[in-house]
Symmetry: C2
Subunit: 206 residues, 2 copies
């Protein structure tokens, strides 16, 4: 087995988290390299695209969290082998990425500009992504997004939804998902209760 | 076989083009629905994420061009079955997407603001993406990005590079790729000469 190292911020969320979770659920050891923002500033120019996460596999640095998530999903049984189910899994991962990117575009704003941009985000991209994910989940039977079992799409949506409902994003109503995507909220709670996920966070809390 | 319809702008490029090419190379019929910007404005609110391309499969509208590209790649033999080669293919598709997104963030600017943002784009994200793609191509043997054969990653990189070298992007030096990523330019020319790709554009030119 290859040697995995994930370099990312020291948060239990964001783009690295579904990969950390998938590796952990699959029992694959990895180096969980967590950086402060100051440490990232120092190493930034040395990363392939000036960004985190960076994935080192046998010492070579790779980019693109959804690509890595998909690869790890294949190694751990968390990715559908059927091409159509795999498409459904991939679409969900990229819908979440669209929402994360839209949030990113508001991150450096302040004051009234931030408030206005977050209102547009909430009324626009967040509403569309939540409603679309809810619809996709219902179409897939309401339990999992693809393949009839837990996949990296479920982990990706779970990590995003948890953040969205945390109250950490200024000017984003904490009950937005509850109002717009009730099936998705139940899904989030179900993924949190998956034995492998619960065990991972129990270890993290120690 | 499912019925495919792709709705996108009437350009031989952008996010729909690698999918049109892959379907065409695989001999899969599809409805090539091309919209003017005015037509898009009218239909926009009815799309799942306020954006094109939209993919209709048996009448259901889906989003996410890289997900669709990957799915079509699997149907047409243009996607690696080996998980690691598939990762390399996916990383390249998402690196190109990063470059396209970075360009998108400069699209509504004008005058000196546009000039300055494009300089940052050229010196920053474009340089990094070109150099990384060139490096990945060399690491894969210089011919194709993954699997030792033509994949959707090659089509995606080809479509982007063609646009980059077209002179259509203001304040982006037309020889940028030639200076920074010579292997990638040779790759673009090779993909253009693939019989299926050449035949597709010969039909389009009629």
């Amino acid at each position: 087995m290859a040697k995995f190292k994930i370099s990312y911020f020291d948060i239990d969320g964001g783009r690295a988290e579904p990969i950390r979770l998938a590796l952990s659920l699959g029992g694959i050891e990895f180096e969980d390299h967590r950086l402060s923002f100051a440490e990232f500033k120092e190493m930034r120019a040395g990363t392939p695209l000036n960004a985190l996460p960076v994935f080192e596999i046998d010492g070579v640095a790779y980019t693109q969290s959804n690509a890595m998530c998909r690869y790890v999903g294949k190694l751990t049984g968390l990715y559908p082998s059927d091409p159509w189910q795999a498409f459904l899994c991939d679409e969900v991962m990229d819908i979440v990425e669209d929402a994360v990117l839209a949030f990113g575009r508001t991150m450096r704003l302040e004051g009234d500009e931030l408030k206005s941009a977050r209102k547009d985000l909430v009324d626009g991209m967040y509403t569309r992504c939540l409603q679309l994910l809810d619809k996709r989940l219902e179409a897939a039977g309401g339990q999992y997004f693809a393949g009839g079992h837990l996949t990296v799409a479920d982990l990706k949506a779970y990590v995003w939804l948890k953040r969205l409902r945390s109250g950490e994003q200024d000017h984003v109503p904490v009950d937005l998902a509850d109002r717009l995507a009730p099936a998705l909220v139940r899904h989030m709670e179900r993924v949190a209760a998956e034995p492998g996920v619960a065990a991972y966070y129990a270890r993290r809390a120690k």
